[in-house]
């Protein structure tokens, strides 16, 4: 049996841990330490990508492996499992971490951080990454889970409270720690509660025991697990308790990691719970009931999260709330997929579309949300503020960041041909096409669409009030300029990935096909069949979804759309020039005001005033806005 992937996994983790020990020694030389940290995470990313390539290129799910660690007082057994599904998460986590580490080199030079030692930062960063990687590879809810979860949680706690002289930040970080420990306790309790399950019981055995347990205990175990992972993912109402506070106070690259990849470990846990931990012997109705509950939570999360995000005036809080909203889409899709996997075989194809939507949105959101946090970080780096009421007019001053932020903002809004579009299309399409067979999901689809209009509003505001419009010239005395190349490069990389995700969704659909082929469990058994897979076809132009009779009923073809838009743009350009009009620049007409200044400008907190009042009941209101 080939265990080489598990050896590589240990190598990767050890690399990160070694970096955690060595890099802090160099912390006095800030840039050197940053570079070393980057090199270590990059090396680890290469190792993990190698594992993923091997796993995804295989013909079936690799065997599981029990890692025995000999300690002074005895041996510790940790069941590990790397299948296609964990492989994708590993690549995602490690590569975003490497890109962000590069960004850290210069970002940690920010004026505000000058008097902070970077020792703890460079200790915690690799440990945090190692913890996340471990979390998506351990196969139990007890021993291995505890080690991975604690590495991730405690390291990220110290990263969040990096700016420890600010009381608000420390309080937010403390809250984060307490809630994450509660989540840990919930999952751990679930893992130990079942008769026959002890420390180190792998997931498939838990599933067997769960099938034999009575209904009450079963429900309790599943509820606790979903609550634990849901807390991490940012599920309503648990996400609101910690997520906006923690994400908005951490240094921006850390926020990017928290929002871009750490939340996804919660999603990972939810998917494992719903599709791997649920025994096949469970009555079909009970399974569908779980799917429905999760979908309802998802729809509430996406609606509430996004409408709260719309109200924010702090750029990072806005992004954080919006993360809750986007995670809601994923939770909705996961719940819908679970529901559709019931007895009715006609819905199985829709389950495929829904889980594909979840999978794509996990990947897309990781990239564009990291990108948005890095852009806001750059703005904060150069202007010293993230308050949208004070920003404005940065397009002319930092054009590269502005264009990159524009790409990320249209991606998150789901504008056709950009990366959020295909994933939202798959999620909304899978809910709408269920029609009468699963009526309530149609309503969920409508709510999801309303919400994407709100997402659009949110990001129009963020972008408009940061990069276009006016304002920064009155509020910032410093010389505002574009950030250094070291900070631009990682953003350019992520922006390129974001564009590829948008224009070539078929690549990621093909990847998803490999994930199904190299994983076990109900998803592969039901959806991996040729009949179901046939409903989803992909080609160079995009993805289309066919009904049972073979005719396509929904399609997302970004390349065609972008071609159409380009031709139309050229036509519009021709029309603009057709009259031979002359061009001239002139100052803004201020309708009687002598000068434009801070007293007579329209602030971010004024925008959507009537709508914000209308949505007051959704919470997350900002005082004075």
């Amino acid at each position: 049996m080939d265990h080489s992937i598990y050896t590589s996994l240990q190598t990767g983790i050890l690399l990160l841990l070694a970096s955690a020990l060595i890099t802090p020694l160099l912390a006095g030389k800030r840039k050197w330490a940053g570079s070393l940290n980057f090199l270590a995470t990059l090396a680890a990313a290469v190792v993990f990508t190698g594992i993923a390539v091997k796993v995804l290129g295989g013909s079936a799910a690799p065997a599981t492996f029990d890692l025995h660690v000999d300690l002074v007082w005895g041996s510790l057994a940790i069941p590990l499992m790397i299948d296609g599904f964990s492989a994708v998460f590993m690549v995602l986590i490690s590569s975003v971490a490497a890109v962000t580490a590069f960004y850290c080199i210069d970002y940690m030079e920010m004026d505000h951080y000058r008097h902070y030692s970077l020792r703890s930062f460079f200790f915690c960063y690799p440990v945090f990454i190692a913890g996340m990687i471990a979390l998506v590879t351990v196969d139990d809810l007890t021993t291995g889970f505890t080690i991975a979860w604690q590495m991730m949680t405690i390291a990220s706690f110290f990263l969040i409270r990096f700016d420890y002289r600010d009381e608000v930040i420390v309080r937010s970080a403390n809250k984060y720690l307490i809630l994450m420990e509660l989540a840990w306790a919930a999952v751990l309790a679930a893992g130990l509660m079942l008769p026959g399950c002890t420390w180190g019981t792998p997931l498939h055995q838990i599933a067997e025991h769960l099938g034999m347990a009575d209904a009450g205990l079963r429900t309790l175990v599943l509820t606790l697990t979903l609550l634990g992972f849901g807390m991490k993912a940012g599920m309503f109402p648990l996400g609101q308790l910690w997520l906006p506070d923690a994400h908005s106070v951490a240094p921006s690259p850390i926020s990017a990691l928290l929002s871009g990849v750490m939340l996804k470990t919660g999603i990972y846990g939810m998917i494992r719970t719903l599709f791997w931990m649920m025994p096949d012997t469970l009555p079909a109705q009970e399974v569908q009931y779980w799917g429905l509950v999760v979908a309802i939570i998802g729809v509430v999360t996406l609606f509430i999260g996004t409408s709260q995000s719309l109200k924010q005036v702090d750029a990072k809080r806005l992004n954080a709330y919006s993360s809750i909203g986007q995670i809601g889409y994923i939770i909705l899709a996961v719940g819908a997929a679970r529901y559709y996997l019931g007895a009715n075989a006609a819905l199985h194809a829709l389950a495929l579309l829904a889980i594909l939507g979840a999978f794509l949105h996990v990947l897309n959101h990781a990239i564009f949300k990291s990108l948005l946090f890095l852009c806001v970080g750059s703005v904060q780096f150069t202007t010293g503020t993230k308050d949208l009421d004070k920003l404005g007019g940065l397009f002319a001053l930092m054009p590269v960041t502005a264009i990159i932020a524009g790409i990320a903002a249209i991606a998150v809004s789901g504008v056709p041909a950009f990366s959020g579009f295909t994933s939202k299309w798959a999620i909304v399409g899978s809910t709408l096409l269920s029609g009468k067979t699963a009526g309530i999901f149609v309503i969920f689809g409508v709510i999801a669409l309303v919400t994407s209009a709100m997402t659009l509003a949110t990001y129009v505001k963020l972008y408009g009030m940061t990069f276009t419009s006016v304002g920064v010239e009155w509020n910032d005395k410093n010389n505002v300029h574009e950030v250094s190349k070291v900070m631009l490069a990682p953003k350019l990389v992520l922006a390129a990935v974001c564009l590829v995700q948008g224009f070539f969704p078929w690549l990621f659909v093909a990847l998803f096909g490999r994930v199904l082929a190299t994983s076990e469990g109900v998803l592969t058994q039901t959806l991996g069949t040729p009949e179901v897979l046939a409903s989803l076809s992909q080609n160079y132009a995009g993805v289309s979804f066919a009904a049972a009779n073979g005719s396509p009923v929904a399609f997302s073809l970004p390349l065609v759309m972008i071609a159409m838009l380009v031709v139309a743009l050229l036509a519009a350009l021709w029309l603009r020039r057709a009259g031979g009009a002359e061009e001239r620049t002139a100052p803004v007409w201020l309708c009687g005001y002598q000068t434009l200044n801070n007293a007579n400008r329209y602030l971010s907190s004024h925008i959507f005033d009537a709508f914000k009042k209308f949505m007051k009941w959704t919470g997350g209101n900002v005082r004075g806005a």
């Binding site: 149609v442 399609f555 803004v588």
Partner: protein, 307 residues
Amino acid sequence: MSQFTEIAIGIAQVFGNLLLFLVIAPFLDGVVRRVMARVQSRQGPPLAQSYYDVLKLLGKENIDSAGILPFRLAPLVAFASILCVIAILPVAGRATALTPYADAISLVYLLTLGGVAVLLGAFASKNIYALIGASREMTTMIMVEPILFMVLLLGVLKTGSLDLTAVIYGTPMAAFGVPGVVMIAVSLFGLQAFVARQPFDIAEAEQELLGGPFIEYSGPNYALFKYYMMLKQMFYAYLPIAMFVPLLGSGFYLVDLALQMVLTVVVFLLIGLLSATHPRYRIDQAIRYFGVLFVIALAAIGAAVIF
């Protein structure tokens, strides 16, 4: 019919659609202006006035007050997005060559792209009035787009497909039942908001916001925005006709098309009449109005799902 002829007809259809909308939209705008004037006991401009406006603006000086790319890009994107919408629209029951490449969800997102472009231009223009207008425009969009989508959704539910031809023409009138009747009422009550006319011209609001999002635009840029608004107006007026008025089924494309166009003109007469007789709502009143409309539409969808 050979495959080649089919493709050729499909492509001709794309250009036919564009030509139809580009030529007729300013005329329909003229109809509204004339009707409004007559109701207010004025003579009113000639029916061709909107053509003159666009042509004249195309030759006027193009003043750039922002000096950044988004300001110059916005009118182009707005105009391009509405051209794409028209190109994929199956007019009079016939799919164009591009219809098979976009479904109902794509259509709605393309429509929002136009709105985004307007907002982008407004935000870029550094003018406080433009920002107020943009804020109102976006608020209206959040509330109105879903209502439009729910009108289309009725077709999705009946045919089980998101393909545009199926969504718009796939259901006979009678099969819509009560939810269909409710949706017709909803589209009528939402009509003025879809076409951004009084009482819902809150974003432009000439008397208070001096054109809102477009205040800093002049010359060809403004012409593009104006043309965009007219095309969008025609699209929104045409859609309920296409959706709910059955095709004659005469077998003649041109007869079907002519009927649809006559009905669209009737809709525009209605738009003019409503615009002339209704004072503008405040934005908070409008939100409540849309909220009620939204709930009714959602109830109709719920009924369509259950029964």
